[in-house]
């Protein structure tokens, strides 16, 4: 095993692979692998009050991917702090808390509470396509992203990652707005808005009508966006979108990502993260840091 340690905004990860939000649950994922194995784990989006999520069905299969419209069902930040977060920190896991809200005030209230905990990093979810207010409504507006990031920046010393939506005209503008407002890193991409219709019933498959598309089908879109954003901003870029193998993760690093998050692959195989870390180990063997982070050394 070669040394794959990375420093993301001052937080040491033992390797550049993290679990993505909404695909890791300590009590369940931990049955399959040690949560200390990934560089970090991002916990499911957490809001101030408990959210019940969307009606079911919340999931549908697509060619090489899946749609989900869970709608950020979560027990609220207080239950999160005394449950999931406590459990993971007692085991020494590097934890990124994914933060959700219906309004800027709600995001800020969650950040305030999390700032008083030993959580390692915060990821502002301004990109969930499955909630009526908040989420992507912020992430598609560069002013809203800038204002929210700026407010959060003043509230906390924790590193702040802004998770970006691909459902925008130019993701680079949004990334730059986050950087200018003080974000320590950006992560991308959240899911692409998608929809399936059951031709027998003539109705949408998802109760929420639309959902977020993820999985290997979105990977080329994600790699291109990571490549463009990494050229635009100076802060670290955390890449994600359809990573199924170590070679996929390597593509993101070559596109300019400092680290990656793995989501859908873990839903399809509970042991995907340990496998991808092992495979990435083989991919990076013999390469220098400059060779690994290709776009930083300049293509195109």
């Amino acid at each position: 095993m070669i040394d794959m340690r990375v420093d993301i905004c001052g937080v040491k990860w033992k390797n550049p692979v993290a679990a993505a939000a909404g695909t890791f649950v300590a009590a369940e994922s931990g049955k399959y692998y040690d949560p200390n194995l990934p560089g970090a784990v991002t916990t499911k989006g957490v809001s101030l009050a408990p959210w019940p999520g969307n009606p079911t069905p919340r999931v549908a299969e697509t060619y090489g991917g899946m749609l989900n419209a869970v709608g950020l069902e979560n027990p609220g930040v207080d239950a999160y702090i005394s449950g999931e977060l406590k459990y993971l920190k007692e085991r020494g896991v590097t934890v990124i808390a994914n933060v959700a809200g219906h309004s800027a005030d709600e995001y800020c209230a969650v950040v305030r509470k999390l700032s008083e905990t030993d959580v390692d990093m915060l990821e502002l979810n301004v990109s969930c396509p499955n909630v009526a207010a908040g989420g992507m409504a912020f992430g598609v507006d560069r002013n809203a992203v800038g204002e929210l990031t700026g407010r959060v920046r003043k509230l906390t010393d924790k590193p702040v990652i802004v998770k970006l939506s691909p459902n925008v005209t130019d993701i680079c503008d949004i990334a730059a707005a986050a950087e200018d407002a003080g974000a320590d890193a950006v992560s991308l991409i959240n899911t692409l808005v998608g929809m399936r219709i059951d031709i027998r019933s003539g109705k949408p498959v998802l109760a929420n009508v639309t959902g977020g598309l993820s999985g290997p089908a979105v990977k080329p879109v994600a790699v291109a966006m990571v490549y463009r954003v990494a050229k635009r901003v100076r802060i670290p870029v955390i890449g994600m979108g359809g990573i199924m193998t170590g070679a996929d993760a390597m593509e993101f690093l070559l596109a300019g990502a400092s680290a990656v998050e793995v989501g859908t692959a873990a839903l399809l195989d509970p042991n995907a993260l340990p496998r991808i870390i092992e495979e990435l180990d083989v991919c990076v063997a013999g390469r220098s840091a400059a060779q690994i982070h290709g776009s930083k050394t300049g293509w195109g």
Partner: protein, 326 residues
């Protein structure tokens, strides 16, 4: 645990031993899966992954039998994925994860086990019937409903004291009902009664009513949601405990994606109750905490307590569930 913290309970490969049609669009799949067969209990399911990179999600299928290193699954073709699965021949390997979820609590069954199944809810009850028979001590009545052709009736007759079947259309009900007692059950031919209808028609019939030992009965049920709701109501009116196995569209099938949750009633806190430890609460989608543990209204409170069908279920006590039109 192996080196590196990878646990040895993930996806494994399983060879198809036998794959036969049971009825129109309904198939029985026997897999060589010793690890799964050794531990599976009735009511649990396995994730079956297709050998196709375009169809990534697992198909969760209830266990219909587990014996001698073999796991039997019975499923219907419901879309492209199960259609592809139905074409896999013996000798093909598929990937499996499981067994998943919590099965029926057979230890809670009294003197009379009443198995109520609808369609693809029947196969898991076949496994339950077998295990209840092996445990002994309970009379077993099966009440089974089908849309068209019946399946699993022969197996049910092996393990149950009485088997009642009914179909909504196509197959004449005269072919379905097999009523016998004791050892005669195994060999007896189905008895004609010439009706069509659904499970609730059978359940409220005079014959089933005469057999029912309400004071000592436990219902185990599996089938479509409207049927389960009706069964739950029927059982509640008679003061009978019912364990129901819910069906919901799943993503991962192991509790990570939170796609398959259902609303449940909040549990009453025991007087002087202790606080759950972080180990117990970590990762649970119990939304009962709230801010300061209180909600504005009972409706809000009920809507906010959710459980995952895949890992907290699929079997629940029927009185835990907040049914659609409650």
């Amino acid at each position: 645990m192996t080196v590196g913290g990878l646990k040895e309970n993930g996806i494994r490969r399983a060879e198809i031993i036998e794959h036969i049609p049971l009825a129109s669009q309904v198939f029985q799949l026997k897999l060589h899966a010793p690890d799964v067969a050794a531990v599976a209990v009735p009511g649990q399911f396995v994730n079956v992954y297709l050998n196709d990179a375009a169809m990534l999600l697992p198909r969760p299928i209830g266990v219909a039998d587990a014996t001698d290193a073999q796991v039997t699954l019975i499923y219907a073709v419901a879309g492209r994925g199960t259609e592809l699965l139905s074409r896999y021949a013996s000798g093909t390997c598929v990937r499996l994860l499981g067994p998943n979820g919590n099965g029926y609590n057979l230890g809670a069954i009294g003197a009379h086990a009443l198995l109520i199944g609808g369609g693809l809810g029947v196969p898991p009850l076949l496994f339950a019937a077998k295990r209840i028979r092996e445990r002994g001590g309970a009379r077993i009545t099966a009440v089974l409903g089908y849309k068209d052709e019946p399946y699993c009736l022969r197996g049910m007759k092996l393990f149950c004291d009485s088997v009642y079947g009914i179909s909504e259309r196509a197959a004449p009900v005269s072919e379905l009902s097999a009523r016998a007692s004791g050892t005669e059950a195994a060999g007896s031919e189905p008895k004609c009664d010439g009706k069509t209808g659904n499970v609730m028609d059978l359940l409220t019939s005079t014959e089933v009513g005469e057999e029912l030992d309400a004071g000592n009965a436990t219902v185990l049920s599996c089938g479509p949601a409207p049927m389960l709701r009706a069964v739950a109501r029927w059982a509640q009116m008679r003061g009978i405990r019912a364990q129901v196995s819910l069906e919901e569209r799943m993503g991962c099938g192991y509790g990570a994606c939170v796609c398959c949750t259902c609303a449940v009633k909040p549990r009453e806190e025991p007087a002087g109750g202790r606080e759950a430890s972080a180990d117990e609460t970590a990762g649970r989608t119990d939304l009962n905490g709230g801010i300061g543990g209180r909600f504005e209204s009972e409706g809000e409170r009920r809507g906010l307590v959710r459980r995952k069908v895949c890992t907290d279920g699929p079997v629940f006590q029927s009185d835990e569930i907040v049914w659609g039109d409650d």
